[in-house]
């Protein structure tokens, strides 16, 4: 299909395609990070992850409405406020859920999966009752729309760039939090050996609650960011959940680095194949490859060595 185009044209398409891959990578990381934090550190699968993302999206929607009504002159920067609010609201709900539900189930991690599934049904219906079953439109300020012209023929989506920057910040933030700060040490200690961590004086319950809240908060940020590139509706969380789970599973669930590596692998494969094949076909091939690799390496790409 590349015959008949000039070298210049091909060059700019390749450049843009490279960016498309990077943007997809950022989107995937953003989607999966919250889930990976919770699963990796607590061994809990949060099936309501998608709904926490959509909570972030609805918070963004409400923020944009508030700004249009009360602060129209500051509409240009509402998004940053919305991201912070999305983190706080989703994180707070996450901590509430941890307190009310999850902590009762730590001895039965498989059951948390079922309980959070019930939670996701309830949240979907809550959104539907409050915001209506239809999609809501989240307005963006003009500067966040359109493309940045790097050269005449190379254009980079601005919303994609924002997602990339946001993802970078959050990934670095999570890294610092978990691997460089005292609190992260506590988290890792609890993960390695809960009883021993408790014995040396770590408040394991508090660590759990904050970890869960952090994971949900990141999901909220992801949802907030995805208002730029996707739809906001009660069931939109379901659109992301399959990819999210695949990435976490493929990465080897207990490892954040694995999650990032797997997001990179899947996004690059998908983005390249989509360019040369039809979108459906590309996804099928990527999924078959993922299955094949999982069959050979069922623990995923990265395995954390833990003594069982």
């Amino acid at each position: 299909m590349l015959a008949g185009y000039s070298l210049g044209e091909l060059g700019s398409i390749m450049a843009m395609q490279g960016f498309a891959g990077l943007i997809l990578f950022s989107v995937f990381v953003l989607m999966a990070l919250g889930l990976a934090v919770i699963f990796g550190q607590m061994g809990v699968i949060n099936m309501a992850h998608g709904e926490f993302m959509i909570l972030g999206a609805y918070v963004t929607f409400l923020t944009s409405k508030l700004f249009t009504t009360y602060l129209p002159q500051a509409f240009g920067v509402y998004f940053f406020v919305a991201v912070v609010l999305a983190f706080i609201v989703a994180g707070a709900l996450g901590m509430l859920v941890e307190w009310a539900l999850i902590r009762r189930l730590y001895k039965r991690p498989l059951d948390t999966l079922l309980a959070t599934w019930g939670l996701s049904l309830i949240l979907q219906q809550v959104y539907r009752s409050i915001f209506g079953a239809r999609e809501v439109g989240v307005d963006q300020p003009d500067w966040m729309m359109g493309a940045m012209n790097i050269t005449n023929s190379i254009q980079i989506p601005i919303n994609g760039l924002i997602v990339m920057v946001l993802t970078t910040f959050i990934a670095i933030g999570v890294y610092l939090l978990i691997f460089r700060m005292g609190w992260g040490k506590q988290v890792r200690a609890v993960m390695a050996n809960r009883a021993m961590a408790g014995a040396v004086g770590i408040d394991t319950e508090r660590v759990d609650r904050i970890t869960f809240g952090l994971g949900c908060g990141i999901a909220g940020i992801a949802g907030s960011a995805f208002t730029m590139i996707g739809s906001t509706s009660p069931t939109a969380g379901q659109l992301y959940i399959v990819d999210t789970f695949l990435i976490v599973v493929f990465g080897g669930a207990a490892s954040l680095a694995g999650t990032i590596a797997s997001a990179f692998a899947i996004s690059q494969a998908r983005s390249t194949l989509e360019f040369f094949l039809s979108g459906s076909m590309a996804q099928v091939i990527v999924l078959l490859a993922v299955i094949a690799i999982l069959m050979i390496r069922p623990q995923g790409l990265f395995v954390l060595k833990v003594r069982r």
């Binding site: 185009y5 091909l10 398409i13 843009m16 395609q17 960016f19 498309a20 943007i23 997809l24 989107v27 929607f61 409400l62 409405k65 508030l66 249009t68 009504t69 979907q124 219906q125 539907r128 409050i130 915001f131 209506g132 079953a133 239809r134 999609e135 809501v136 439109g137 989240v138 307005d139 963006q140 729309m145 359109g146 493309a147 012209n149 254009q155 989506p157 919303n159 994609g160 995805f226 730029m228 590139i229 996707g230 739809s231 906001t232 509706s233 009660p234 069931t235 939109a236 379901q238 659109l239 998908r270 983005s271 390249t272 989509e274 360019f275 039809s278 979108g279 459906s280 590309a282 996804q283």
Partner: protein
């Protein structure tokens, strides 16, 4: 919250309240203007749920699950039509009672609920279904229990059942006029076909491709791509479009993917005022989610737009918004759903009976002059004669009608030469 109309919370609450209040209100309307009401035994010989003063119908749409996004408008339109019919004296002197069931975006569940509506509730007619998959799932049920389904969505054709009246357009009605128009007025020669990966976009694109290659001189298809339902990442295909530079992007993407596609198209710097884009899947309902700014300039080809100027529509739009909220938009399918109860009423009155076989026999030739889209008539093949229109998307989320066929377009669910 000083200003109600702009404060999101109270707006939603109000919309919710209106919805809740409207139902009992509709049921309690004064039963004025009684038409001469014939004896029950005469109008119902097959054991349908008809009493001396009521007749029961079913509404079967998804109000939960992913399809609730699209199907909500249809439910609202059907309820409005039924409320209006009741207000004007009902059908054959009987008030319409509604039994609503939730299809829950799950096809087997649609079949289960359809069976309940027919076998257990004995509904005289059912208004419902949205996706082709749900229609295919309930079709055997309607044929087995001899029910009557009014199906509102534009769809791929290749189907005709005596138990279904298709109030939306079938594929050739919707597609051909639009392609001819874009070729004639824009001089477009090359087309890039896009779609979600299921039967309707695939069949529609097949028809479009045959038409482009066989009937439009010098025109060609430069690309064709399909994406899984719910796909949210379109940057790669947008690059492909940039490389092939088609005159027209022909997009049949549905559901949540739509929002992602148009937002990313806009973000990739494709300006729809310069690049022609023709879609048959984006109604005003979808634009709410997409955002007018992201899609302004695109053309849509369907039979109804909210902005249509005619006396029927000027009554319909305010009535709809009075019942469901001033900000509710009305898309093509919503209007087609509104036709269902009216067509059924007219048919029942012509047949002088609720019996399904008599309704089926009386259906061809039924005219509805009060249709918001203007005028429709039921064809022998149970689809509607209707005009096809092209609208241009505006920033405010509405379409401006730029073209309309001069005559009604004949429905042709099994088009020769397009299969």
């Amino acid at each position: 919250m000083s200003d109600d109309a702009h404060a999101p919370h109270s707006l939603f609450r109000r919309r919710l309240m209106q919805g809740l209040v409207a139902l009992p209100a509709a049921a309690m309307l004064p039963r004025a203007a009684w038409a001469a009401s014939p004896a029950t035994a005469a109008v119902n010989t097959t054991g349908l749920a008809v009493t001396d003063d009521t007749v029961t119908v079913g509404i079967l749409h998804s109000i939960t699950g992913t399809m609730a996004i699209s199907e909500t408008g249809s439910v609202e339109a059907e309820k409005l039509a039924i409320a209006q019919i009741n207000e004007s004296g009902g059908v054959l002197g009987r008030q319409i009672k509604i039994i609503q069931e939730d299809g829950a975006s799950d096809w087997p569940n649609f079949a289960e609920k359809a069976k309940k509506l027919l076998a257990s509730d004995h509904c005289a007619a059912v208004f419902g279904c949205w996706t082709s998959a749900s229609r295919k799932a309930v079709l055997p049920v309607f044929e087995q229990y001899n029910g009557m389904l009014y199906y509102p969505t534009f769809y791929e054709g290749l189907e005709q059942s005596k138990n279904v009246i298709y109030t939306g357009q079938e594929a050739t009605q919707q597609i051909l006029a639009g392609l001819d128009w874009v070729n004639r007025t824009k001089g477009s020669k090359s087309f890039y076909l896009l779609g979600s990966d299921y039967i309707w976009p695939r069949t529609s694109n097949k028809i479009a491709r045959k038409h482009i290659e066989a009937h439009l001189t010098g025109c060609k298809v430069v690309g064709e791509d399909y994406f899984p339902l719910g796909h949210t990442q379109f940057n790669s295909v947008i690059n492909k479009i940039k490389l092939t530079k088609p005159d027209v992007i022909y997009a049949i993407i549905v559901g949540g993917s739509n929002v992602a596609f148009y937002k990313q198209l806009n973000a990739a710097g494709i300006d729809l005022s310069k690049q022609t884009l023709l879609t048959i899947s984006v109604t005003e309902d979808e634009i709410v989610g997409i955002g007018g700014k992201n899609i302004a300039g695109a053309f849509a080809c369907m039979k109804y737009f909210e902005s249509l100027k005619n006396p029927n529509n000027e009554k319909f739009v305010p009535a709809f918004q009075k019942m469901w909220g001033a900000n509710t938009v009305i898309g093509d399918v919503t209007q087609a759903a509104y036709l269902g109860p009216w067509l059924w009423k007219l048919t029942a009155e012509k047949a002088g009976s609720f019996d399904i076989d008599k309704i089926v026999a009386a259906s061809p030739g039924i005219e509805f002059k009060g249709a918001p889209e203007g005028y429709v008539r039921i064809h022998e093949n149970h689809h509607l004669w209707s005009k096809t229109r092209v609208g241009k998307a505006l920033v405010n989320g509405q379409y401006e009608v730029v073209y309309e066929t001069s005559d009604l377009v004949q429905p042709n669910p099994f088009p020769k030469g397009y299969q």
